[in-house]
Symmetry: C2
Subunit: 106 residues, 2 copies
Amino acid sequence: MVEAEIYRALGDPTRLTIVRRLAAGAPATIGELSKNLGISRQGARKQLQVLVSANVVHLVPKGRETQVVLDPATLQQAREFISGLEFQWDQRLEALKAFVEGDSEA
Amino acid sequence: MVEAEIYRALGDPTRLTIVRRLAAGAPATIGELSKNLGISRQGARKQLQVLVSANVVHLVPKGRETQVVLDPATLQQAREFISGLEFQWDQRLEALKAFVEGDSEA
DNA sequence: CAAACATGCAACCAAAAAGTTGCACGTTTA
DNA sequence: TAAACGTGCAACTTTTTGGTTGCATGTTTG
């Protein structure tokens, strides 16, 4: 069961920016990621925590700084769930089309 | 540019339930979709509006009732954006792996 | 036409979210 | 070891969100 939590985590401009930067290979310590988001470091940290709670990201403490790492499995899960919706939907359209075109053709 | 709005729309249990039902081929009038969500019809309508604003769904008025239809293009966009993130991330890991294993091998 | 139906809309409320400030604390490094 | 650095955490404020109730309005149908 895919949780709405995953999408909720991605559903905020600040958090999506963070995820984009991580995927693009940006620095990756909490401090670095917190820069240029237009909010305070503590504010950014709270957003980061939302991503952590949704397992979109996880934290790896190293000495005095903490590395932020993307969790590809969660992204995959989110993507596959959407694929599933699309698949079901397509099937419905196919069925409808067949019906309209004359399912019971001579 | 993919908007966080799409994910925000999916990021709520009630709204995700609505989307799931639509994809699965459930009835599809506002009234039908509003049932069994554990909230009032008006409450459900507000959630539906969020999906409409994010283009996850669109409404087709027919007489006194209104049909709710999934917008597959939006789902596709959401899925492809995630694919893009995964792709970038994979590339980074590949590059890192190559480097660690000895990029400059004799 | 009147009743039943499907829906829209605004006002209001409580809870959650987004962000801030202030301060504490372990880790490097000069 | 003192200062600088990277972080964590709690208290607080302001918006946003999720939900409700009440009522108005167009649409079918008996």
